[in-house]
């Protein structure tokens, strides 16, 4: 385990829970002993994280109140200490109180949640649109439009589990999952693909999500972009990622035997780099079309009209 991971380790059960929650949330990819949601890399994921923490602390406060009252009752009103039971069984004021106060607390949580949901549903004005199709068991990415123009000649990306992970995950493979490392030394067992999706940083990217065989789920936790990929239905999600980098996710809807082996990897490039990459892809595609079409890949699905 690397030293940076060691820093994040919990030293004991009594460790300051809240401080830990906050420090771990800054991490981008899952880390050992992680205890909280990632803050993520988009304004939406950051707002969700805030909402999540607010709800968590409300629950902690209510828990302290209820369990605390119960604990005090269990200590103070023991028969072995000579406690004599009272006989009342009503208190109208109290009962109205604990009906109304929770309603107010819930409204306090639901109001920002409603506004945030509306924002998450607003996928208009996207600079780029990518179609995501789930198959058993890989992701297919097609660039649809960019900067108001349709994208042509960019080859479809087929995103399968990387070969080293795939070899290690076989029953009795003899390969330790701990030995599967990315170039930067972090472990990417089951979280690495042959060809990642590449998108530009700093602009709104819209994902049209569907599937061709069974229901899958496309999710990058750091983007808080998540929709079920359902055959015959075109869902959409969006993300505006400011910080370039590589972001990881996994299929989250049971899709058959290799459900655990269809990760989502999205490479976010600075805008100029992305433009250069896109042009290079278009050029390469023109030159290399024959070679590409010779590869054995799933057939083109018939997409439902959205």
């Amino acid at each position: 385990m690397s030293s940076s991971n060691c820093k994040r380790r919990i030293v004991g059960a009594g460790a300051a829970f809240g401080a830990l929650l906050v420090s771990m949330a800054a991490a981008a990819n899952p880390v050992p002993w992680q205890m909280n949601l990632p803050k993520g890399a988009t304004p939406v994921s950051q707002q969700i994280w805030n909402l999540h923490m607010a709800a968590l602390w409300v629950c902690v406060a209510l828990g302290v109140l209820v369990f605390g009252a119960m604990f005090i009752a269990m200590v103070r009103f023991r028969r072995s200490k000579g406690a004599v039971a009272e006989t009342w069984s009503h208190n109208t004021l109290l009962e109205i109180g604990w009906t109304v106060v929770p309603v107010l607390i819930l409204i306090g949580l639901a109001a920002p949640a409603t506004l945030l949901t509306r924002e998450m549903y607003n996928s208009t004005d996207a600079v780029m649109t990518v179609k995501v199709t789930g198959y058993q068991w890989l992701w297919r990415y097609d660039y649809i439009s960019y900067d108001g123009k349709p994208v042509t000649k960019v080859p479809t990306i087929y995103s399968r589990l990387a070969a080293d992970s795939n070899a290690a995950r076989q029953l009795d493979s003899g390969i330790s999952p701990y030995s599967i490392k990315a170039p930067d030394g972090t472990n990417d067992y089951l979280l690495d693909v042959t060809h990642p999706l590449v998108i530009p940083a700093g602009v709104k990217v819209r994902f049209l999500i569907t599937a061709d065989d069974v229901i899958h789920g496309w999710w990058v936790p750091d983007f808080a972009a998540k929709r079920d990929a359902i055959p015959g239905i075109m869902n959409d999600a969006w993300a505006k990622v400011d910080k370039p980098g590589t972001y990881l996710g996994q299929c989250y809807v049971l899709c058959g035997q290799d459900h655990s082996a269809m990760p989502v990897v999205v490479k976010v490039l600075p805008r100029e780099e992305f433009n250069a990459w896109l042009t290079a892809q278009q050029n390469a595609a023109t030159l290399d079309k024959a070679a590409r079409t010779a590869r054995v890949e799933p057939q083109q699905p018939v997409p439902a009209k959205g």
Partner: protein, 57 residues
């Protein structure tokens, strides 16, 4: 048919008439509730029959 065998269950009850009446009422309740259950089953099938993906049609 149901009635006779269930009445035999009651032979040691002190007020068989009263209890038999209640049991008859219970059987009526059971048929009504059973009919409601059957209606829910049919309704779910009918619902399934009329449902389709709107964008495809």
């Amino acid at each position: 048919m149901l009635r006779t065998s269930e009445q035999s269950e009651l032979k040691d009850a002190p007020a068989p008439d009263e209890l038999a009446q209640r049991k008859a009422r219970a059987r009526r309740t059971a048929w009504i509730i059973g009919a409601i259950a059957a209606a829910f089953f049919i309704a779910s099938l009918v619902q399934g029959h009329f449902s389709q993906i709107p964008i495809l049609h």
